[in-house]
Symmetry: D2
Subunit: 345 residues, 4 copies
Amino acid sequence: MSTTKLPFASDYMHLCHPVILERMVATADQSHIGYGCDEVCASAKAKIREACGTPEAEIHFLIGGTQTNVVAIDAMIPPYQGVLAAATAHINVHEAGAVESAGHKVLVLPSHDGKVRAEDVERFLSTFYADETWEHMVEPGMLYITHPTELGTLYTLDELTRLSDVCHRNRLWLYLDGARLGYGLAATDTDVTLKDVARLCDAFYIGGTKVGALMGEAVVFPRPGVVKRFFTQIKRHNSLLAKGWELGMQFDVLFTGNLYFDIARHAIRMAERLKAGVRAKGIELYADSPTNQQFIILSADKAAALAEKVDCEVWARLDDGRMAIRLVTSWHTREEEVDQLLALF
Amino acid sequence: MSTTKLPFASDYMHLCHPVILERMVATADQSHIGYGCDEVCASAKAKIREACGTPEAEIHFLIGGTQTNVVAIDAMIPPYQGVLAAATAHINVHEAGAVESAGHKVLVLPSHDGKVRAEDVERFLSTFYADETWEHMVEPGMLYITHPTELGTLYTLDELTRLSDVCHRNRLWLYLDGARLGYGLAATDTDVTLKDVARLCDAFYIGGTKVGALMGEAVVFPRPGVVKRFFTQIKRHNSLLAKGWELGMQFDVLFTGNLYFDIARHAIRMAERLKAGVRAKGIELYADSPTNQQFIILSADKAAALAEKVDCEVWARLDDGRMAIRLVTSWHTREEEVDQLLALF
Amino acid sequence: MSTTKLPFASDYMHLCHPVILERMVATADQSHIGYGCDEVCASAKAKIREACGTPEAEIHFLIGGTQTNVVAIDAMIPPYQGVLAAATAHINVHEAGAVESAGHKVLVLPSHDGKVRAEDVERFLSTFYADETWEHMVEPGMLYITHPTELGTLYTLDELTRLSDVCHRNRLWLYLDGARLGYGLAATDTDVTLKDVARLCDAFYIGGTKVGALMGEAVVFPRPGVVKRFFTQIKRHNSLLAKGWELGMQFDVLFTGNLYFDIARHAIRMAERLKAGVRAKGIELYADSPTNQQFIILSADKAAALAEKVDCEVWARLDDGRMAIRLVTSWHTREEEVDQLLALF
Amino acid sequence: MSTTKLPFASDYMHLCHPVILERMVATADQSHIGYGCDEVCASAKAKIREACGTPEAEIHFLIGGTQTNVVAIDAMIPPYQGVLAAATAHINVHEAGAVESAGHKVLVLPSHDGKVRAEDVERFLSTFYADETWEHMVEPGMLYITHPTELGTLYTLDELTRLSDVCHRNRLWLYLDGARLGYGLAATDTDVTLKDVARLCDAFYIGGTKVGALMGEAVVFPRPGVVKRFFTQIKRHNSLLAKGWELGMQFDVLFTGNLYFDIARHAIRMAERLKAGVRAKGIELYADSPTNQQFIILSADKAAALAEKVDCEVWARLDDGRMAIRLVTSWHTREEEVDQLLALF
């Protein structure tokens, strides 16, 4: 009843980290009040506040990434504002128009390997407000970034600081989509910490679905007052889980000790092993990713052969007919799986 | 870390049925492709089609009830149509305007203990189309009913058949919110079966969250062609679970053997024990419910005293100052919990 | 090419007041910049501010009533709030779900001859916030009233003051739909003035379409700061007129001298003549309206006979088979038309 | 009370063509039933059907261009589909997010001087459906084009035919925004006729606001069945004019004889005179427009000097500091105004 190929299609191919499952088994008989008003959620929030260094943070648990993006964006900006994002941003490409269904236009910035540059934001704004007809246009109200990006790349602390500056000088909220935040923070050479993210952003979410949880994302507003009646807005966006403590439990486990970061670090080691291996075999990389998503270029024939033995995703079809293939490691990836994969090339 | 009161606040106070948890533990190491395109979901759908007697049914798994309502309603009617529902309907009262946020007006019908009457639908339609200005008004496109209703009441087969008739004679879709469908089908004196529901309705959902699942609802379109691109519409409404097989697994377990109905039947027995007990103590009932939600009337003082020992919900404040209290049994309720509760009166 | 029946179907059956037409002819050759940024609009706004006694008022011109309601409501409350209104309110019945299409639920209050009572607002709010689950419900953000109402009735100054009080004590905006405001202010026994409306409401509109204008409504926010970027919001709601000065011109003429009130007063005199006439003939009134809409009850046969000679509207079909017929006078109604109408009974 | 500069800012700076005003004066005393159900509208529709060569066409009158775009797009595609358009398209840039406020994403194609190429549509579709994740993306449901474009350029009959072909082979609706359609059809060298537009497009609108009308656009669905309940959808989008016959009257006059085309031809002659004049003075053109919008490049100083005497619009700021200035002729432009303008260079 499950796939028997090598599982490199994504980082959400396995149920959840064993410690979470143990916790579920151990507490299965307990009863909880609904909608996240329980003590498990309270405990998880306390741990996240501590990890972020933001004792006043407002935190909510949601079920998935698209959902978190839509609810947060719609809660942060009024209906007549739009959201700036890279052309390659998840909200612009892969959310089936969920942001537009909430009435907001995605205002597109150039993507530099998935990243947005502060000077492009600056240029957008100066062009926008210099236009005599700007009041006929969608005013940007926030900047959406992903970290790691859809291409696995990372902002440096300097880049993130400059984005935060340009946003706050121009009354834009800075929102960070952290679907894979753990893998970003656990990367070998990054100089960005969770506390930096909490300090520089007005809102962000800590991805659980892709980093060991059964499901769930923790959206963090480091400084209170950014949103109002967020609980009601979650419900209005059909995103409130009745058994809310199930979400709290994911993060209560993941943020006990260093678990969230430890399992992310493991995935990074697996990705580095994979990257070194394909490089050693002379396979070209499509993107130079320091995180758990790796992108390689194969001929169409080799890509097809690989797909028979490996769950993986065609990321792009190149003009010369070759394929960019995405291979993703996760908290669950085993060293022998990486080696079996490498043996296929 | 959990509530220590007697758990009668709702039927979603416990994690999930032990068999589901066992299945999760047993299969935790398997890998699956995402978004419900896996074999576990396929298996669960096959079992539900069999149970419904509708081999052609289109089935999707969603996470919660409000979500299922919004996605299904928005997929079934065009933007300019509204949905008929009882004044007491969940979509009209307790979904924070989620249906309106998708642009649809809820058109209110009288509630008779939570139920809608065929003659009220008929009267609404004849008044509507007799109005010279009806093209300036929101045209009804579907009828939304709950079974059991928010007050625990049930439609008879005859009532359901007449609703189905009036809808189909008038080009309305009939949609049944089955958040607690199991408890309705397991009621002692009901003459409505799952196959009847599938035969008479154009869409309905089989509630999992409240009937033993970790989470999840199975929306069923018994006859194909009612909706288009439903997968994309789930995504657009930020309701697509990345680890879709987790939802399939809930229903694959619940629809193996007779589990879904057996555990619902247990909750009904507990509710009947509770109802008989409070009646024996001379406590007045607020509604005469044959299902797992029971409603009793207490003085404000007694209600307050009860609330110190029991997780329960104030359903309504009566004009004379007394309180209508809702007490809910579930698949998890134990006989001794009911007896402990009764001992408090 | 026009109707040859007696024109009592509505107060928007004729082009515009002759003085407006004269102004259009006289200035047809002038050029103006677009979108209402011209001097004609500026002049009209100054006159309206003067008439309202609110020198700081923010004023915008829109094209029609439904449009004004939707743009103003959506600009005044956040997406998760709803709008309280009488069951009979135009936004609840005759706007084809325009308010819901902007995502807001209409929260229904009892209608007392079209009016809302302060105690009903109070009761709604106390019930709402006493409900333990209120955060799952649509929070009221404003109260919508019409003056005159859809039934031609009027609030007294005392009633309006009490509504204003209950709103402001409870952080609700008070919005007044003045589609027929002129006819309300010109009624014989009213004690409400335009300055009262401006003092007691947070927003209202002065109806032009039904009171002599070619088209157009002037929405007034007596105290600044209630809405932001209203110009952009008009555009976003596809409601911005390119030749904005045409709207300004309507109000610049109507608010020169006492024209707006004089022509409304004329309509009232015609309505009083009509009302006295039908009463003298023993015809029963459906509602006791002091303004330009009159409602009479006729047998179905007589109603049908009337409809052959008079443009009028069936307002309601009574349970006994009789018809409530609406007859509307306007700034254009001539005394002989009223007499010809009366001669038909 | 009007601008005294030379009026070249737009083609909606003057009230309306004198014949329309005469008609308004002549018929001011007639009464009409509301909402466009009158005989004036019926007459205008008949004339447009005749001019289009589409006796079965469904036609509605709306007030402005953004409004027409939003109502038509939202009526033609289901909520989960988006609309393809050039990056420079009015709906993508200058409608304040009105299309997104109706829930639809604008899917951007390259702009070639404001035009869309059939091969770009083809490429978009083949890339889209080749993507394994396309069901997570916004499916294109229609193609939006403008004719003339925002840059004054025109499609050839061959280009339009190829766009129509690619759309219909791929189940896309083809929609043409004809805000300035008259000026396009009256251009000197165009081979596209109104009948061609009606034959090749599934919907389009004939712009009135910019071509002599007081206001108003006529949206044409050449073949019935493309939209349902369009009247109700107009109302729902707060776009229904109470005095609907006023819109019908504009088009009844403009489509009597050849008036619409004659006055457009006049504007073209004025534009040609202007273009020849600036070219003779050695002024560089920003775009080579065959219609009534002309775009010239001036130094910032000269642009500022010009703006003191001429109402005109800065279209773009070039990287070298120079300005692209838009100069627009209309049905109202007088030869001496063109000459006065030319004398300023």
